[in-house]
């Protein structure tokens, strides 16, 4: 039982949602945390990394990077590092990490312990934003439960509370905050060089990714791969919102058609478009509603899995106005370090507002296209790229509206209340 991935209970069904909250039930469902015992570290590590590699797990925080590779980079950069659990979930439309941490904190903490054991890290820090006290309380209670039960862990666990800002969850900004108290993304032309806290390697994993790690280590990569696609296996947590009757978080197999994911939340009427991947993601036209939720398929239609978000846009909304709101929001959330983001995003947002209001002429469209092209990829982090993505997709998906506006037909919906979610001033839940 000490070697991860070698036991597969016949009854084990791969599900993150619905996993028990308290430690005793967690252990009853999954068995003990398979940590290495003295002397067998090397073989334990090999089988843990092999299980992760075999699973094909990719990061669920947005970038979709293979988890086994991330682990190997951290390992190669030396021991006594830090594992940061990214529970910042700064994407306004996302609730998945919150739901996961409140309902099944041990699943996430165990994943962090396994990664810490495999990389020789000495610290596990769960980063929960200031103000989101329900999540912090759940994690703190779970850590207390583990301490009282003398639960065997590889290293200490603690909660830290960075500011609740969009950019604070970007991985280099998160590391910067732990190190210096300032949430600033760093410019890293070579992403293969690991981030550091206290001159030691710091590896950042999204909370959901770590929950998958702890499942895979216990019930094996085959249970994970029993879901999803050969080239994009497993399940994903997705927050479905917008114009729906039952917004919430669902767990779906990778490869599930987008419209089926939307239907889990009961859309109000026929959706006009879907926003996939969050506010830095892309609008998807009804012609592509059958697209599988998987990295390659989404890329082929100009979208990304991004953070696990599907927002339904009802027929009574203006997609261009909604996009203008999103880009204004993203512009306001810039860390303020890079010129193209500081000046480019407000300029693109203003252009989008003009487009939405029908103040369209060929000069405006040429200027917008140039700005989208020029701003893309020119920040230290990918924040500006997200704003470009959603704006670019809006111009394509809502092209018919745009042309109608350009010919003087005003939009009937441009000043309606938004169907999207935006944080009100400062979150205080």
């Amino acid at each position: 039982m000490s070697s991860p991935g070698d036991t597969l209970p016949a009854t084990a069904r791969y599900r993150l949602l619905g996993h028990p909250s308290d430690l005793a039930a967690h252990l009853a469902a999954l068995g003990p945390l398979p940590l290495p015992h003295g002397g067998q570290m090397h073989s334990w590590r090999q089988s843990f990394v092999a299980a992760l590699e075999a699973s094909g797990l990719t990061g669920r925080g947005g970038a979709g990077f293979p988890s086994a590779i991330k682990l190997n980079v951290a390992r190669a950069s030396g021991p006594r590092g830090t594992v940061l659990v990214n529970a910042m979930e700064s994407e306004p439309a996302s609730d998945k990490d919150k739901i996961l941490l409140i309902r099944s904190p041990h699943l996430v903490l165990d994943g962090a312990q396994l990664v810490a054991a495999a990389s020789g890290a000495r610290r596990v820090i769960v980063c929960v934003p200031e103000g989101r006290d329900q999540i912090a309380a759940a994690v703190t209670a779970a850590i207390g439960e583990r301490t009282r039960a003398r639960y065997p862990v590889a290293t200490s666990e603690e909660v830290m509370r960075p500011p609740d800002r969009f950019i604070a969850g970007e991985e280099s900004a998160l590391v910067s905050w732990v190190e210096t108290g300032r949430s600033l993304p760093s410019f890293r032309p070579d992403k293969g060089i690991p981030l550091q806290v206290g001159r030691r390697a710091a590896v950042v994993h999204n909370a959901e990714t770590l929950a998958h790690v702890s499942m895979i280590a216990r019930i094996g990569p085959d249970a994970f791969r029993a879901h999803g696609l050969q080239e994009d296996p497993g399940t994903s947590l997705i927050t479905v919102g917008g114009s729906v009757e039952q917004p919430g978080v669902v767990e779906v197999d990778r490869g599930t058609p987008l419209i089926e994911i939307a239907n889990r939340a009961s859309p109000v009427g026929r959706p006009q478009a879907l926003l996939v991947g969050g506010y830095g993601g892309a609008w998807v036209h009804p012609d592509h509603f059958g697209t599988p939720y998987a990295s390659l398929s989404l890329r082929s239609i100009g979208a990304t899995a991004g953070v696990g978000v599907v927002v339904v846009l009802g027929s009574d909304a203006c997609g261009l106005s909604e996009t203008a709101r999103v880009v204004h929001y993203l512009a306001g959330q810039s860390a303020g370090q890079c010129g193209p983001c500081v000046y480019g995003l407000p300029a693109i947002a203003d252009d989008m507002t003009r487009v939405a209001r029908g103040q369209v002429d060929s000069e405006l469209m040429a200027r917008l296209e140039r700005r989208l092209r020029e701003v893309n990829g020119r920040g230290a982090c990918r924040h500006p790229d997200g704003a470009v993505n959603i704006a670019r997709s809006a111009v394509q998906v809502f092209g018919a509206d745009l042309r109608a506006h350009a010919h003087g037909a005003p939009c009937a919906h441009w000043n309606r209340p938004t169907q999207l979610r935006f944080p009100t001033a400062r979150r205080t839940a």
Partner: protein, 71 residues
């Protein structure tokens, strides 16, 4: 064969614009005065000028990365 690329650190850059004056063949400025490079390898005859642009940048925001290429 060595190829050279210009890398601009967008955090350090403060839009002085000297680089685009020295090296208009490879660096243009956006509408706010920040340098745009297309990321393609630099023509060999421009490498020395690019290195001078890197030295002259008041914010030390430019790196000229030389890399041996197998082709």
């Amino acid at each position: 064969m060595t190829s050279a690329r210009i890398i601009i650190d967008p955090v350090a850059c403060d839009a002085y614009g000297f680089c685009a004056e020295l090296l208009p063949e490879a660096i243009s400025l956006d509408e706010w005065g920040y340098p745009v490079v297309d990321g393609t390898p630099l023509a060999p005859e421009l490498v020395a000028v690019a290195q001078r642009a890197a030295r002259d940048c008041p914010r030390r925001a430019i790196t000229v990365r030389l890399r041996k290429s197998g082709i």
